[in-house]
Symmetry: C2
Subunit: 382 residues, 2 copies
């Protein structure tokens, strides 16, 4: 990941990434680790040849079934057919997964980071994820839940927050639709290939989302939705968001899995209460009663989840004056967590930029008032 930024036109690298994105069932930390060490072309070659460096033999088992079957060109063509692209850690819009808890910004954390993402839509994933809230909930939602999901989303997108969800029936759809109606940005994370509309009844909704926002997935084109993929997908919903809000959830709702990911990834978690005799509020009430989730009454409560210190609704990060930055500088900004500081070594690790580039970038960013240094390291200016 060091060295010059690969261009999208670099066909060899693009094919290598597409191969790597498909060669193991996500999430697969060993593939990410191997790419981090060898770069995509060498990593793909090593996996294909079943010959990997010492310390990376863990990559062999999860790739055994698919290593020899190269669907790369088919995947790229099918993606192209639906207007999708593959974005990778080498792309500027790769999101700041550094938002993962600092203590986990190690090899182990890569297990949660996707190898690459298939993306439809005009949005930039990094800016979309910079100020994003996940709004999830029951598929069998009530009209109360749909109404509340719509209201909360409407207020959030008015404040320039991106609303991320899973395009499912019920709360997910209510959130996406409200974001679209409010001309806000919304991101749908799929548990299937980018060329599949799941659920099929949401084909139009997904097309509408892809027209202004983003539809994303870590699964190669053609992949069908499956139970374990919903669970893996939920981790991306949480990881891309600065807070997760569950609007309605029954006792065993899938939304509770997204909530569990929020806790694991240290994302603030909120839940909307409802009537205590409503089965679709049981999960929300349990999370609030157990102290796992904060009670959410309105969009302000959600904003406070992200910014507990208050001071009203802060300007979301995407509205910061980072537009004129070079790729290197942007990468350094994105390497910094929303809270807390990083040392130079950590910024080098997270950003994947050489130490000299990082030092120069920090100096410029400091002058621009975008970062500051204290005895704990470098942090984003509030």
């Amino acid at each position: 990941m060091t060295g010059p930024v690969p261009s999208a036109a670099d066909e060899r690298e693009a094919r290598a990434w597409a191969y790597l994105a498909a060669v193991a069932e996500p999430p697969c930390g060993p593939v990410r680790d191997l790419v981090a060490e060898l770069g995509p072309v060498e990593a793909a070659r090593a996996i294909r040849a079943r010959s990997v460096p010492d310390g990376h033999t863990g990559v062999l088992e999860p790739t055994a079934a698919r290593a020899g079957t190269d669907m790369t060109m088919a995947h790229l063509e099918r993606a192209h057919g639906v207007g999708a692209r593959l974005i990778t850690p080498d792309d500027d819009e790769w999101p700041a997964w550094s938002l993962l808890p600092l203590g986990q910004a190690t090899t182990a954390a890569r297990a949660g980071e996707p190898v690459a993402l298939w993306v439809r839509g005009p949005g930039r994933l990094d800016t979309a994820a910079a100020a994003a809230v996940a709004m999830v909930g029951a598929r069998a939602s009530t009209s109360y839940g749909d109404h509340v999901a719509g209201d909360l989303t409407g207020d959030l997108v008015t404040e320039s927050w991106t609303v991320i969800s899973g395009a499912a029936f019920g709360i997910d759809a209510a959130a996406h639709r409200s974001a679209l109606a409010g001309r806000g940005e919304t991101v749908a994370v799929l548990a299937c290939g980018i060329d599949r509309d799941y659920p099929a009844a949401h084909s139009t909704l997904l097309t509408d989302i892809a027209r202004t926002g983003l539809v994303i997935t870590e699964y190669p084109p053609g992949t069908t939705a499956a139970k374990h993929r919903f669970l893996a997908r939920n981790r991306l919903v949480a990881a891309l968001s600065s807070a997760v809000v569950v609007v309605e959830a029954g006792r065993r709702s899938g939304a509770l899995n997204t909530a569990a990911w929020a806790r694991r990834l240290d994302r603030p978690l909120g839940a909307v209460p409802g009537p205590i005799n409503s089965a679709t509020s049981v999960g929300c009430h349990a999370m609030i009663a157990d102290g796992d989730a904060v009670l959410i009454r309105d969009a302000d409560d959600i904003v406070r989840l992200v910014h507990p210190d208050g001071g009203g609704v802060p300007a979301p990060r995407r509205q910061r004056s980072t537009d004129g930055l070079t790729d290197d500088q942007l990468q350094v900004v994105e390497a910094l967590p929303s809270r807390g500081a990083l040392g130079i070594d950590e910024i080098v690790f997270v950003s994947g930029r050489p130490v000299s580039v990082v030092r120069t970038a920090l100096a410029v960013l400091d002058l621009k008032g975008l970062v500051e240094q204290d005895d704990q390291g470098w942090r984003l200016m509030r």
Copy 2:
């Protein structure tokens, strides 16, 4: 309060108590303190004569307006006319106000303890209060709130809990009615005289409550309901209960005042959530979100408020085998807090029994397995 228990037939004492109960606007700690020192007959005489012992001059100002106007016989007759009686700290059924936080079981705490209580109904106030939950809420309740108040109350009275409320429209009435329907015990605490039905539309409800449970008030017969009396009444609702549950409450609901009393008196506080777009749930959601109240989903949650250590629904205290105890022994049992221990001196103070009587009673209670001693003092057996 030391010496033999005065009998209800002691007309002189009864008249003194009725005088004392009316001579100052409740709550009036100085009157309680004076009675504690002089006994009712001497305390009444001293107030009437405007001549009180050193250290008790604080009683003069709050009694100045009424000391010379003796309504005692009128009050006793009006109470008799509606089948009400006056119970006092000298009566066996005087509740265990010792449940007030231990640190406050001092003169200052008497400010919160009523001088005496006018009571209608066949219940014994001490046993009613021994396992009681206050169920309060908005007068302008929704059908959801009424339904929930009824359900929760129905479940609580099935488990032999007393449900205490204020006989107001809305949640209060729904709770009382459900308790009556479930043949459970319910207590209505009024902010007016025992001979007044407030609200007038609840005349039949109050009669029904008085038929099986209790209607109580610290206000003398003839007293009209007034804003400040509702606030003082709310303190008794909380003080008589082992937990307070707010079912619905708007932003400025009177139920929030009862909740404030619960916090002040160290009673566990619960609140029932509802739709976030319901104005009558705003107060409940605020208390839950602020961590002031526990989210209540069902009667089990309420029982856990009282007994956080769980183990299912415990036998309420009234079902303990205290029926065969002497008055002295019962008084000592009731002097002990539901949690924590008291030393002999404190038990003497709270029970108002001589130290020799307390020692004898404790020895018997110990043998019966009702109390136990450890290095912190005497405590109720769990």
